[in-house]
Amino acid sequence: MTAPIRAINDFVVKFANVNGSGSASANGLFVKAILRMGVPVGARNIFPSNIQGLPTWYEIRISGEGWLGRRGGVDLMVAMNPQTWDRDLAEIEKGGYLFYDSTKPMPATRFRDDITVVGVPLTQLCNSAYAEPSKRKVLKNIIYLGALSALIGIERAVVEQLLHEEYGSKPALIPANLEALEIGFDYAKNHLKPIGLKLQRADAVGERIFVDGNTAAGLGAVYGGATVCAWYPITPSTSLAEAFIDYCKKLRHDPETGEARYAIVQAEDEIASIGIVTGAGWNGARAFTCTSGPGVSLMQEFIGLSYFAEIPAVIFDVQRGGPSTGMPTRTQQSDILSAAYASHGDTKHVLLLPEGPNECFEFGALAFDLADRLQTMIFVMLDLDMGMNEWLIEPFAWDETRNLDRGKIMTAEMLEAGADFGRYKDVDGDGIPYRTLPATHPSKGSYFTRGTSRDPYARYSEEGAVYIDNMERLLRKFDTAKSIVPAPIERKAAKKTSYGVIYYGSTSPAMDEALHAMEARGLAIDALRLRAFPFAGEVFDFIAAHDLVFVVEQNRDAQLRALLINEGGVDPARLVKVLNYDGSPITARFISGELAKGMAATDSRPVGETVR
């Protein structure tokens, strides 16, 4: 018999539920209770594209040391879904624990002998306490929450306090929930043996907040001065628009008149959404849409117009599994190439690559400054993992002295003073022209905006030299972008090394843990986290300074690697693919395993593709 796992404040719990069964609320309470006990948690919801009846999981990484990515493996499985019993059971680590509803007897063959089985007759406890089916369904979840709390040592008072807060607006529901909690708690206390996984109160959470990236990005858009939002619901971006709506309701009404200092339109589709954004940006309002890969596909023509006619706009792309409808409720980083080069003809677009909710907020605000400054489309590339899962992060912060950067706008005064206005004229050598907003001046500064070729004074022209002049200026502008987008962040290994790793986005928390693990094993590797496209020169300096650079990303085709090769003329042999694209967030174990393998193997033979 394998020895049971023993761990304090460092284990993985996974709930296997049926969606629509009300489990999300109980699982959320479980996580919040652990946080309230001062122990850091990384929690990820794995859910189907469905309203009711399909399997859903909630995976919780409890880490006193503060590792918030997925570790890989499960120490305690709470198996509440008969449909997925076999695979859930198989996922438990040797020496791990199974928690299940033991109301119906099950043959021994349905279990494993290398794990500890903890049975609680949940249905029986629930049915004997409650007669109404609706209560039975929901309160069963609270009963298992009570039993689990007793089992691993979550303080009951903490959960009770949370129940009071959760149902503050519906106090009538509190007594029944407290009672259900007690039923589960008491059963566990009286009937179950303690297990090897324990929670202990700690002080490792501090001031940190627990929030998802979509909420953070929606709030960022409020702070970034966005006034127009046009959107079309699509998983996993919907909650970004909803967060913007909620925060605007709270923060953006005239205190005297109650009037809205924003306009939000749920458009008829993604094309209309980006059209509205384009019109608003053209007319000087900060505007955005939020969508996912399929929406970006639909918006292609407008993205090209934004690039060529130079209209500020922001798209939050919360990436999901593609191609086509793909895996709509699973995560990937698979829109990088289609966003970077969106639309027909020669185009390139600025991408911001937040690593989690903090940067979703920060870049969510910054995107509007960059859009106005560069007069072009700015993509903020979230993904489902950071967009829809709550992450434990430092509190949001805002510099009160910061002003919104509206970019180069030619005013009536400048026109009156005799400025030579050419809408597409490069006055300052940075490729960025001045623009006038409609109705700036009664007789000066008007121009005709179009997606067709034109000269610096916005006059239609199909002359080759005029066209090339404009296209080259757009490249100069893109070059200017390199110096004003968020710079990459380098983390040097403790000792000198010829190995490097490049990563970005939601890979960050798992990478943090993987790098720590590598260092503990004595494997030295320098790391560079990219935060934007176009790539600054230091990205290629980093590649040049290492013999072998791993590029870790969450798609099949190594899209970031392709972008690096294309933009920097990098020898492909020096960039090793490390790819996770099964729809689940990447794990620390996978990353450190692949890097270690690659580093050990390169001395004798070339490294092939490491693909999961």
Binding site: L35, E207, R208, I209, V211, L219, V222, Y223, T227, V228, A230, Y247, L251, D254, T257, G258, E259, A260, R261, A263, V265, A267, E268, D269, I271, A272, S273, G275, I276, T278, G279, A280, G281, W282, N283, G284, A285, E301, F302, L305, F396, A397, W398, E400, N403, L404, L437, P438, A439, T440, H441, P442, S443, S446, Y447, F448, T449, G451, R459, Y460
Partner: protein, 351 residues
């Protein structure tokens, strides 16, 4: 083409409007459309209408899609900002522009290909959203730039220049606009300036989604026998329901008409629409009546023109959204960026 510069000088006797502008101040570049194109007459009518309502030329934004009609905003109102957007998507761009600055007038110019085919969805949704705009479709039933294919407004049974008979039923954009909730619907003919100019004036002054379907024969590809969008056909089948005058800031003169012949419709902005009835008992404020009338007369083969429907109490998208009076593009930072105390409160709620 656009390298031809129009001379600035004009005849000294050219009249001025209340703001001191002449008609020439509302013109644009030289048209590149075919000589005799109906669209150029519509551009001229837009110039005349803007002159007559004493518009400051730069206080209007003109937006269009793609096609012959969508090129025309370059040929009028040269002092206004214009935006030639993408095919069929003018309505969404206009909606966004309007949200950014509610103080300007928005003129959308489109064609039957742009609005009835690729852009039918956006046409529908901008109208049902009540965007404050004047939306003109220059309707010739044919794709001109690509040389003569049927558009979606071509009538079933009508013949193309190459002799092909259209087997698909035609979309009546005016009837559709009415059904979609447009609060101002007109139809006119590019060859009838007396009818068209007042309609455009009224549409520009209307608050809400104003739509005008203007039959505008394509001289090159759809002006032959067998076409139902030719000059001859439209003239022969044109049945006006009323004649419109827009009275701004002065009392309407009624002396020359018998009682009961006139309908006065006061607008939000204080102007008065004075309608001389042509069809007896046609009430342009009766939505159901207008819908029925259009259907009946269309079945009889007539092209009904005039002010077909108006809701003088209409509200627009900004009313529905409850937005501030000041344009959103003019709000200062302090009204947009919440204080960090608000952020502290948000942080506290996320623990």
């Amino acid at each position: 083409m656009t390298y031809i510069t129009k001379p600035d000088f004009h005849h000294p006797s050219l009249g001025k409007n209340a703001l001191g502008f002449t008609r020439r101040d509302y013109e644009g570049k030289v048209s590149t459309l075919c000589a005799g194109c109906g669209h150029d007459s519509i551009s001229a009518a837009i110039v005349q209408a803007c002159f007559e309502i004493d518009l400051e030329p730069h206080r209007l934004a003109k937006l269009s899609g793609i096609g012959c009609s969508s090129k025309t905003p370059d040929y009028f109102l040269g002092a206004s900002h214009g935006f030639n957007t993408v095919h069929g998507r003018m309505p969404s761009v206009l909606t966004g522009a309007n949200l950014a600055n509610r103080e300007l007038l928005y003129l959308g110019v489109s064609g039957d290909g742009d609005s009835a085919s690729i852009g039918l969805g956006q046409f529908a949704h901008a109208i049902r959203r009540g965007v404050n705009m004047a939306y003109i479709v220059e309707n010739n039933g044919v794709y001109g730039l690509t040389k003569g294919q049927f558009s979606a407004t071509a009538d079933k049974g009508s013949k193309s220049k190459k002799g092909v008979v259209n087997s698909e039923s035609g979309i009546d954009l005016a009837a559709l606009a009415l059904q979609l909730g447009a609060t101002f619907v007109g139809r006119s003919f590019s060859g009838d300036k007396d009818q068209l100019v007042p309609l455009i004036k009224a549409a520009l002054r209307h608050k809400g989604a104003a739509f005008i379907d203007v039959l505008s024969p394509c001289i090159a590809f759809n002006n032959h026998k067998g076409s139902t969008k030719s000059f001859d056909w439209v003239r022969e089948h044109n049945e006006a329901v009323n004649r419109l005058d827009v009275m701004v800031g002065r009392a309407p003169i009624k002396a020359s008409y018998d009682p009961g012949e006139l309908i006065e419709v006061p607008q939000h902005d204080g102007s008065v629409l004075v309608l001389r009835k042509v069809a007896a008992d046609y009430d342009p404020t009766d939505h159901v009546g207008a819908t029925n009338y259009l259907q009946q007369r269309q079945a009889a083969g007539e092209i009904v023109t005039g002010l077909l429907y108006v809701d003088p109490e209409a509200e627009d998208l900004h009313d529905a959204l409850g937005t501030v009076k000041l344009p959103l593009n003019a709000l200062p930072d302090r009204e947009l960026v919440p204080p960090s105390s608000a952020l502290a409160k948000i942080n506290a709620g996320l623990r």
